[in-house]
Structures are given as C-alpha cells and as structure tokens.
Subunit: 260 residues, 4 copies
C-alpha cells in the first residue's frame, strides 16, 4: 500500500495571492500529517447554477498561477477542464487533469485529458453506476494513459440531494484504478441554496472517515481559509482547522487497518 | 394552444442518403398527422458509453447534410452540440441547437447555443430537479434568446435506470417555457447493454401518451427505418410504423383534452 | 375492455354522518360520468406520522358505518386492514379488502385478505419494483382469490418525495391483474408537513390523466367535501369539484383511446 | 462512550439445536473481542418474498427456544414482532423487541413494543428519511420507553437496490438515540434473487467499517454457520470467520477514534 494522497485547495482560483496562501497551508497541512499532497483549484467554474456567479480567473491567468504555486511550494497541482482544447495547455502546467462529474461521459474530453495529463482524475457522474466507470477507464487507457484516479462525489438521490454509496469505492477499485472520495462535493445539496448549490459541511468528516474505513487511495477536500467568504462552494468547504481534524481521523483509521 | 411539434429523426447521421431517406419519412409522418415537424439527428455522438462505438459523420459533413435535408424537404432541423465553439457554425445551418442532458449545466455551451441558435432545446440533466431548469432558462434569456424548449428525458433512479417524473412537465412549463418529452431516450437503461446503453422500446408509447395527457408542446422521438441496424440507440428507437401509432394516440389524447 | 372503476371517498371515517354524506356524493359523481364506483374509507389510520394524530372510528364502529353506507347508497365498499385478524370481520362487510403499501410484503395479511375479501386491492410498496408484485399476486392466488387489483401509489425517490413511474402500470398489468393508480397518495410528500405528511394536490390531475393514457382499470382518489378540514391527508385530497374535473378528463382520454 | 453492542445470530430460528449452537458461537465471538452481545433470531419471517419460503418455528416454540438460549448462554436476546399482540408474550422472554423496517410506521406495533419490551430496536424503513425517525422515537417515549435503538438497514435506491446513506447514522444520533447499522440486511438486493431476495455479502465488511468510522452504538449482523444452507437470507449472511474479521476491523477503527 501507498500513503494516502491529499488533494486539497480552494474551489476556485480567486487570485494569485489567494492561491499561494492556500497552497502554503495545504503544504503545511500535508507535512504535519506526513502525506503527499496535490494542490487543487479551478480556473473556471464552468457549470455554476446561476450565470451570474463568479467563475474564476480564466485559463491562461490560471495556468500562470499554477506555475507560480508549483515554483514556490513544490506542490503538484490539479485542475479541471471543461472542453477538450483546454487539456493541452493545462496539461503543460498542472500535474493532474480532472474530468468533472457532469462531463465524465464526454469522450473527447476524457481522451484529451488522458493524452495531455501526466495523470487524470475522473469524477464519477452523479448519474452513473460505479461499474460503468470501466468504460471511462478504458477510454483513458486506449488513449495511452493508465494513471487514472476514479473519484466518488455522490450519486443523485431524488431531487436536490446526493448520497455517497460506499460500495462504489469497492466497485471502482475492482476496476483496477486507485479511488478517491471527494468529501466536500459529496455533501452538496444541488439547488438547495436557491440560486446557488447548498451544502452540509457537517457531513464531510463522517463521510471522509467512512471512506477511509472502506478503503481509498486519495482524499479530495475543498478548503478555504474563510469558507463564509469563498466565491464558490462555501457551504460545503472546510476551513484548515476542520481539514486538519478530518485528516487526523482518516489517517488514524488507516493505521488501525494496517494502511500507511 | 398551438399544435404539437414533432421532433424526430435518427439518433445519429450515418450518411447523407440515410438522412435524406429518414427526413422524407419524417415529413410524410408529420403531414399524415397534420403537425409541424423538425428533423433531428446528431453529427457526433460525443458521449458514447464505449470509446469504440460509431460517433457519426462529424460537424462539417453533418452540416452539409442538414443543408441538403432542408433544401430537399423544407423541414426545420435540430442538432445537438457538445462544445461552445460548435454553436456558431451549427447555428448557421440548423434551426434548433440542442444542449445535451449531461451538459445542461455548462454555462458557456448554453450561452453559445442561445446566442447562435434560432431556438434552443435544453434537455434536463438526469441529475437535475425540474425547477432547477429555471437557471438554465435564465442563462438563455440573459444571452438574448427566449425561444427555449425544456425537455424531460428521465431522471436517475438508482443505478442503470431512469424514471420519467410526469410532474416535471408541469413544473418546467410553470417556468414559462414550452416543454417536450424525449420519449425514446427516457426509456434508456444506462449501462444496461453491457458495452452500450440498453433500452426498453416498449415503454415509448405509454410514456408518450402519458406526457400528452399531462401536457406537452413538443414530442421528441428517435426513429430509424430499421432500429436493429441503427448505429446508435437502436434498443430505444422506434421504426416508422411504431412512431405512426404513437403519434396517432398522442394526438387523439390532445384532441380529447381540447388541444390542437 | 370494461369501464373504469372509480374508488373514491374520504381518507378516514370521521363519523357516520360524514361517511354517508361523502358516499352519496361519490355515488352522484360516478353516476354523472357513467362509471361504477366503490366507496373507500379507512376505519383506522394505523400508520400516521405522529402518534397524536386522529386515527378514525375503529374497526367495529367502522364496519357498522360501511353497512349503513351500502344499505343507503348501494355502493360497493373498500377498506384497508393492518393486521391479519381484521380481515375476517372486515371481509364480512366490505367488498374489497385493501393491503396498505407499507404492508404489501406481510404474507399473513395478504393471505388473510385474499381468504376473507371478495376482492383485494394491494398497494405496491414505495420500496418495491413493479415486477416484484408478482409474488404478492401469487400469495393471493395460492390463497384462492384471483380478484386482485394492483395499485401504484408512488415509489421512494430520495427522501421525502415519491415518483410515479408510469412504466409500473404496464409492468403490473403484464402480471395478469387489473391495475389502479392511487392518484392522491401518489402526490404525498412524506415528512414534508413537519409532524404530518405533506402533499401536492395540484399534481393529482396530471398524474391521473397520465395513468389513463397509459392504461388503468381503476382510479383511486381521496375526496373530501372540505380538504382543509380533513382529519387526515387533507393536503393531497381533492374536493368534489376537482374530482369531477379529473374524472371528465380521464374518461375523455379513455374514449379517445377506444376504451369504455 | 460505551462499548459497541454486537447484535448477532441467524436470520431465522430453524430449530432449538441450531439456535443454541449459534448462540454459543455468538457468545464466544463477543467474548473474544470483549464486547457485549445480544443474540438475535426471528421466530417467523412474516414478509418473505414468496409465500412458499420457510418462515420459522413460530411464536410459542420460538419463545421457548429464546428462554433456553438465555438460560444456557446468559446472552440477552432480540426478536422481531409483526403484529401488536405478539409484543406482550415476546416481551416476557426476550430483552429487545424489534420493529421491522417495513413496519416502522405502524403505530400500534411500535407502541406495543415500547410497552412490552425492555428495550426496542426500530429499523428505519427503506422508504423513510432519517429525520422522520423522530416521530417513531416520540411514539416510543410517549408509550413510556426511552430505551430505543434506531437502526439503518439501507434506503430504497431505484428498484432492486438499497443504499446506505452514512449521513443517516449522524442524523438519527442527533435525535438522541443510540444508532445501529444492520450490516447484513443493508446489502440485500430486493427481488434480485428471482423468487427470493438476493444479497452481496462482500459489502458487509466495508459498510460495517464505514459505519464504525462514522459512529455507531451497535452493530447488527446475521451470521450462519453455513450461509449456503441458511433457510433465509443466506446470500447476505456471514459465517463466523467473516464476522470475526469484521468485528476486529470495526473495533480497531473505534479504538483509533478513541472509542471503547
């Protein structure tokens, strides 16, 4: 077994200063717990509930920020892309290209991420059975990339609610890929915030612990220094103190089960 | 009230000859029943389950086919686009730009379709509550296009199954937009076909009748001369005889309810 | 084909006077539309959300009321039972014994209803696949009763919501039994009313029309002279004017489809 | 915090000898891990899928078996009851009266269990939101019994499948009651076995570990010496070796989180 990979950062790049400050704290958090870390952030929130919400700094400015983050902190970086043409430029800078959940069935995007990413993180669509991720994995492998992480981020459960089916982590691991829980998006309440997506931050910790007990290779969490001020996904983001507590428990569970 | 709009055609453009043959039959079908029709087909199936499945003729050849169909049959045309840049060229040729269900939350795509389409058909995501389509509608209107149809095509119901919530048609109509049932995609069984999506053609007719009884402005059906030979979505496509019977019943129900 | 059977009445027996008044109106409603009718009411609401809610007049007083209703109106009657021992006394008076949805898997209750009821109406559990009703039907038939109606009343769809899967009517009819839509319970919102079950009366009419278009043998509706004053299920009950409009449309749809 | 309570035993009482043999092994299992145990078994499987399946030894013979088990092993006992009249006799013998999931809304049964049981275990219905269990809890408390355990056993997730929503354990604990995971029924596949209920034994261990990581007061598992020969629920039952491994991991997780 390998140590747990922490994928953490703010939902969206708000500015270079914000990114650097958060990346340093992510680095410190990971160091404190002795785990490798990847800094995640989105340069563009392409699927906001409302067309009037903040979307981010954009692709080129975003990539410049990621370069600076890498240079200053040494952290690996991850970002999500939304159209196939973005994979090539993004893949020149960030280490992991992420396919958003809604887009996990878009063949061109998946293939472009596989071609241009050192590795790929595919979030399982809220509408997809865990075993159907085998087709996504096959698309990546046929494009020549076997460095693929499969991420659970909740399945549609009626309207306005998501449920994390813990069996999905087992099923996806059986496909031969490392698996990840996106613990903060999994507690979103789609449409629950009126004009924005709501969320239940209080369930991040129990879901993260549960996933650790089931068996995960990576843990994805959005962390913001001040979630109440976050420009996206505040209701389901953690602050660094919360993230520290989650990580402590998650790693204790892993050690109890004999995992590094 | 206005007459029911029929949106029909094969799932995917397989060739110019196939498109023309199908469009002529769609035109004859609509004429027989006295309803206006739009010829639908996809130039690219961008989200096939397997990366090895047939995807279509591609954008530019596809647009040439649509031009020929319009010229030869006089039918209005509809196609779906998958990335924002496709909206402009597609919008120059086809009458209705369609946003696929998985992509209904992609702001750039929705806005591009609103800008470049005479009208837009947005399929409600399998993961979305009907009332959350108000945000999609607002994105279109803010982009200057109020000619938007909202289409129900089934909601995620556990794994590998979709359910049509008939209340959704009422809820979406209350948003102030015409509503459509996509009767053939609604009977898909995602992942149910192993390496392809399965489907239950036998439920197309009852769901179409039910939607007509609830109240719809348009009916979307994929029709193939020989569904067993269709290169995509065969299991849930109708042949023309089936489509004729569906339309007959749907229109009888509308007349019984005093609708044209 | 046989004419549609109307099963209608108040949710719960509140008093003899209330029952008689409602039964006379049900009889008039059915006569106006030329359909046979069964008067339904519960003598005991055994599964109220709160233990403090009104439960009804009880078994023996309730049976006396049903006898009076039959004598005075000539209507057939239906009531639901909750424990197996109630089936014998109830079956001596009412014409149809109903198995509640939550209880449709309780073998003793199903068998007792089959033995003691002239006919049986089994509501499909909110947790049950339509085709699994074949086992319930088999239990009735093995107990010697083939007069069984299978009723759709909504399936669990996340928390606090139900969805009517119109395919269920087709699937259950294929089991060889007449099928019914319970149009008023299908619009309940479990837990949605805080200490009571909420409901969306406005969807009763579209769901009833949809079911008629799919194909049903019976339509079940709870009707109260003044739903706002009903001691149970007011939020999803219709008044007689609403029921009249629903029935008019439902029968128009049937005629349009060539059904009596 | 108190130590985890193990509730374990065969699905159904097949004979006195079977019960005693299993109870001794449950006792040994619990002793090996230093946790208190309750021996569970059903005297009657009142809701089998098929009317022809084995149902158990019946109430009176079953109570005699529970008496013998208590006398010979000293274990506390639990059984489920299905109609209100069974609660009084069962409550004279067994320590915990259990309300089955399908029946958790039957007020008389819940109240009878509260009155006649030393303590009560209520399984949350597959159709019920976790927070709606507050009404069930209130019914017990108003009947004078505050010794109530709330058990998660999976929620309806489409047809033929259940999902364990780990948030439910948190939500139910917030109601002020100890919570339990029924790890073996949670992996049932309703209707999945054709004429019987199917199951996925391989998910029992991950779900039990996950629940331990979230926080539970009790763990419920059906264990059979030879699941392949079990007369009920074999596909989701564990054998004693599997149960031992589950318990070892569950307790390791609890210790890692500072729980006894």
């Amino acid at each position: 077994g390998r140590p747990l990979l922490l994928i953490a950062g703010p939902c969206v790049l708000e500015s270079e200063a914000q990114a650097l400050a958060h990346a340093r704290q992510v680095k410190a958090l990971a160091a404190r717990h002795g785990v490798p870390a990847v800094f995640k952030a989105s340069f563009d929130k392409a699927n906001r509930t409302s067309g009037r919400s903040f979307r981010g700094v954009g692709l080129e400015p975003g990539l410049a920020v990621f370069e600076r983050v890498k240079r200053e902190t040494g952290l690996a970086t991850l970002t999500d892309v939304h159209e196939a043409w973005q994979a090539e430029p993004a893949g020149r800078v960030v280490d992991v290209l992420q396919v958003p959940a809604f887009l996990c069935r878009q063949t061109d995007l998946v293939v472009a991420c596989a071609r241009h990413g050192r590795s790929v993180n595919v979030k399982k669509g809220q509408f997809l059975a865990p075993r159907d991720m085998r087709h996504v994995l096959a698309k990546c492998r046929e494009a020549g990339n076997a460095q693929v992480v499969l991420t659970e981020r909740g399945a549609s459960f009626g309207y306005g609610n998501l449920v994390v089916d813990m069996r999905a982590l087992v099923m996806m691991r059986e496909l031969g890929a490392p698996v990840c829980l996106d613990a903060t998006h999994a507690v979103q309440l789609p449409g629950g915030g009126g004009d924005t997506t709501g969320g239940n931050r209080e369930y991040v910790a129990p879901l993260a612990r549960a996933a650790a007990a089931v068996g995960i290779d990576a843990l994805f969490m959005e962390i913001h220094e001040d979630p109440a001020q976050a420009k996206s996904d505040g209701p389901n983001s953690l602050d660094f103190a919360m993230a520290d507590a989650v990580l402590r428990d998650v790693l204790a569970i892993r050690r109890a089960l004999g995992q590094p």
